[in-house]
């Protein structure tokens, strides 16, 4: 039994929108749907220019095992199929659809026929769902467990530890019955018996609702966790709910658990009932440049500009816009960037918040070391990176880093530790693959 307590940090909560049920934004004139909204191979486009599409209609097929199909989020006409630059900096094909504003559902949609494990996983695959907590890993791959007896527990990640974001909170309040229907489906088709819903203690309304419903369901525990970031990090959540350590490079299943985001689970249950694939997202729109912080529902592919306008506009031009929360989110290159499947928040910052603070020399205070949840040594990693020492990077386990941001957040010298860790991880990857080739 591990008794060690993992480190973490207190971040400002800023859950300004927790009590705001999401509202629909006006249907944008166009949506641009990239073919890569998941971990794995991009989907292959299945429509051509001029095609009429409706909401929920397949526009791109899954390509390869780790991939996901993509569906139209609007009704309208395919305007163009062109490469766009996504936030990772790479170019991927994207389908731009001119909307007709009617949002007519695709008539062939029907609830999937599910009778057993295989048909369940197939349905999840067809729904186009990916990890909605932000990772975007195709959910059917995760649920397609080869040996169901390995599953000791399913951990439902409802920690939502990033500042600002409340879209999972809204799922727990607005779609709570779907969460429990999802639990029912996992019981039935995966044979899972034990479910742990992990929620940070700054979401009292959601905790209450989940506790009420869990009392009526066998095998469901609500695990209230202290609001210490990064409580929702997979390794951290698994450790804090089960005291098990996922081995480096391994999967939660290696320690007998499956971790699924609460909104992903609710979506699966909703899909089983309606047959409507993943085409829209509840997104928290907040940040210092946002006029009225709120939760909105937007079609996937909506540009950030349309999303911000639809949510009530910004106070002047935003200086930085982030996909996701401020701790791990990615700064987007332009407001044309579309909303993706796993986008759960758009944070727009004014200039004062957007400019990163000035970096000064490391004073060796050890704050980074004493706040890393995975017990890494960011100071030593920086040194090994600068001195070009990949063997040392391997010894320091830099590839374990989940880039949660705690080290950078607490650094008094405001050193870009996460940036260095990312570069160091890439350096180690290069080194290891070259080593492999040499052998």
């Amino acid at each position: 039994m591990n008794i060690m307590r993992l480190h973490g940090i207190h971040v400002p909560h800023r859950k300004n929108t927790a009590e705001m049920a999401p509202v629909w934004i006006p249907v944008p004139e166009t949506v641009t749907i990239p073919m890569s909204m998941h971990i794995g191979k991009p989907a292959s486009v299945a429509v051509k220019r001029g095609d009429e599409v409706k909401v929920g209609q397949l526009i791109a097929e899954q390509d390869g095992f780790i991939s996901s199909p993509i569906h139209s989020s609007v009704s309208g006409t395919v305007q163009k199929i062109d490469d766009i630059i996504i936030s990772t900096g790479s170019a991927v094909p994207a389908v731009t659809i001119k909307t007709d504003g009617l949002q007519t559902p695709f008539e062939e949609l029907a609830p999937p026929y599910v009778s057993d494990f295989d048909s369940f996983v197939k349905a999840v695959k067809k729904s186009g769902v990916v990890g909605l907590g932000g990772a975007g890993f195709p959910t059917f791959v995760k649920l397609g467990v080869d040996d169901l007896s390995k599953i000791e527990a399913v951990i439902i990640n409802a920690a939502e530890c990033e500042p600002y974001i409340t879209s999972d909170t809204r799922t727990m309040l607005d779609k709570s019955e779907y969460i429990f229907k999802g639990i029912g489906a996992l019981k039935k088709y995966l044979g899972a018996k034990r479910f742990i819903i992990g929620i940070e203690n700054n979401k009292q309304a959601a905790i209450k609702r989940m506790k009420e419903l869990s009392e009526q369901t066998d095998g469901v525990e609500v695990h209230v966790l202290p609001a210490i970031y990064p409580q929702g990090g997979e390794k951290v959540l698994v450790y804090n709910t089960t005291k098990k350590i996922i081995p480096k490079g391994g999967l939660p299943l290696d320690v007998g658990v499956i971790v699924i985001n609460v909104t992903t689970l609710a979506f699966i249950a909703e899909y089983l009932e309606t047959g409507m694939p993943l085409v829209e997202k509840c997104i928290t729109v907040d940040g210092s440049a946002v006029k009225e912080p709120k939760n909105v529902i937007a079609p996937i592919g909506t540009s950030i500009e349309d999303l911000l306008d639809g949510a009530g506009g910004t106070k002047g031009e935003p200086a930085k816009v982030i996909y996701g929360g401020p701790m791990m989110g990615i700064a987007v290159p332009s407001l044309d960037t579309p909303v993706l499947k796993m986008t759960n928040a758009i944070i727009a910052m004014n200039e004062k918040d957007a400019v990163p603070p000035k970096t000064t020399q490391c004073i060796g205070c050890g704050m980074c070391i004493n706040h890393c949840p995975l017990r890494l040594d960011p100071r030593a990693i920086s040194l090994a990176y600068k001195t070009d020492d990949p063997e040392q990077l391997r010894a320091l386990n830099v590839d374990l880093c989940m880039e949660c941001g705690c080290c950078s957040y607490v650094c008094p010298a405001k050193r870009p530790l996460i940036q260095t860790n990312k570069l160091a991880k890439a350096k180690l990857r290069d080194y290891l693959s070259k080593n492999k080739e040499a052998k």
Binding site: D254, M328, C365, I369, S408, A413, K414
Partner: protein
């Protein structure tokens, strides 16, 4: 319109190097006030000279090396105050200035400036001064201008009848370096640093605890051992220096115990009546090894190296 693009995280806490150093300066203020009350205004003069020369030599060195100027981070102020606190009040001012230059230029800047020095600048400078100016560095002038020995040198000579009372020891009414004597003021400053989380309790607790236990075992008067010499200032302000001490809790405890053991070795069996400075410097030298040995074990779940 161009959006700012930077790597996550996009928010930071409000802490900064300057804020940390300001906290240390604030924590040293009670002891500075006490030194003026106990030793007179010359104490303030010595502190002023040390701080001014430290800041000036940092500025000049960085100017000469075309390095970015860092005097605004206040670390040179801290070094100046700590060095002054480790000098007798009667020290000639040119010697205090010399020590300040040694601390900043030789011990700190030549090794790369803030965060890069392997030894504590104030302590190393003090030890160099003790060797260079052994006469003036061990002349303990008391407020009434009468030379008097420090409690620890009285103990080491066996003249225990001349020792000040516990109460006077606690208030700092005794011979010694100008900032080390007032235990009350130093504890207030130490508590402030603990509350502000600038330092953690591990080093001072291990350091002071080791000296206390060893004194007890060796049959010495524990309270004189704790309140005499530079133990309290050393444990809270010098052995907690970031760059020259280990970063992890376990490392800090080992560092503190090591300091405590070396201190009592020197005090009880060495030639000097006091050993805090040497103990910290010696442990500074061991710090890279302690840091390496006490590095946190990453959460790899048994996989990887």
């Amino acid at each position: 319109m161009k959006l700012i693009s930077s790597v996550s995280p996009h928010i930071y806490n409000k802490n900064s190097t300057q804020r940390i150093m300001l906290d240390v300066v604030l924590a040293l203020v009670p002891a500075a006030i006490a030194s003026v009350i106990i030793f007179g205004f010359r104490a303030l003069l010595v502190i002023g000279v040390c701080v001014a020369v430290c800041v000036l030599s940092e500025w000049l060195f960085e100017k000469a090396c075309k390095k970015e100027n860092t005097i605004s981070d206040l670390s040179a102020v801290v070094t100046g105050m700590l060095l002054a606190f480790n000098l007798p009040v009667s020290i000639p001012l040119w010697q205090a200035a010399f020590g300040s230059i040694v601390a900043i230029v030789v011990v700190k800047q030549l090794f790369g400036g803030i965060g890069q020095n392997f030894a504590n600048p104030a302590i190393t400078a003090r030890i160099i001064m003790m060797t260079a100016f052994s006469g003036t560095m061990t002349t303990w002038t008391f407020p009434d201008a009468v030379s008097s020995a420090t409690p620890l040198s009285l103990i080491s000579k066996g003249e225990t009848s001349a020792l000040p009372s516990y109460f006077n020891m606690f208030l700092g009414w005794r011979g010694g370096c100008l900032g080390e004597t007032c235990v009350l003021a130093l504890l207030i400053g130490g508590a402030y640093l603990l509350i502000r989380r600038v330092i953690s309790w591990h080093t001072p607790a291990a350091f002071i605890g080791t000296v206390a236990i060893m004194s007890l075992i060796c049959g010495k008067d524990v309270l004189y051992q704790l309140m005499g010499g530079g133990l309290i200032i050393g444990a809270f302000f010098m052995a907690t220096d970031y760059s020259s001490t280990p970063p992890t809790k376990l490392g800090k405890i080992i560092f503190g115990i090591g300091c405590g053991l070396i201190t009592v070795l020197i005090r009880f069996w060495g030639n000097f009546p006091e050993g805090v400075s040497f103990s910290i410097l010696l442990m500074n030298i061991l710090t890279p090894y302690i840091s390496k040995l006490t590095r946190h074990k990453p959460l790899t779940g048994g996989a990887g190296k």
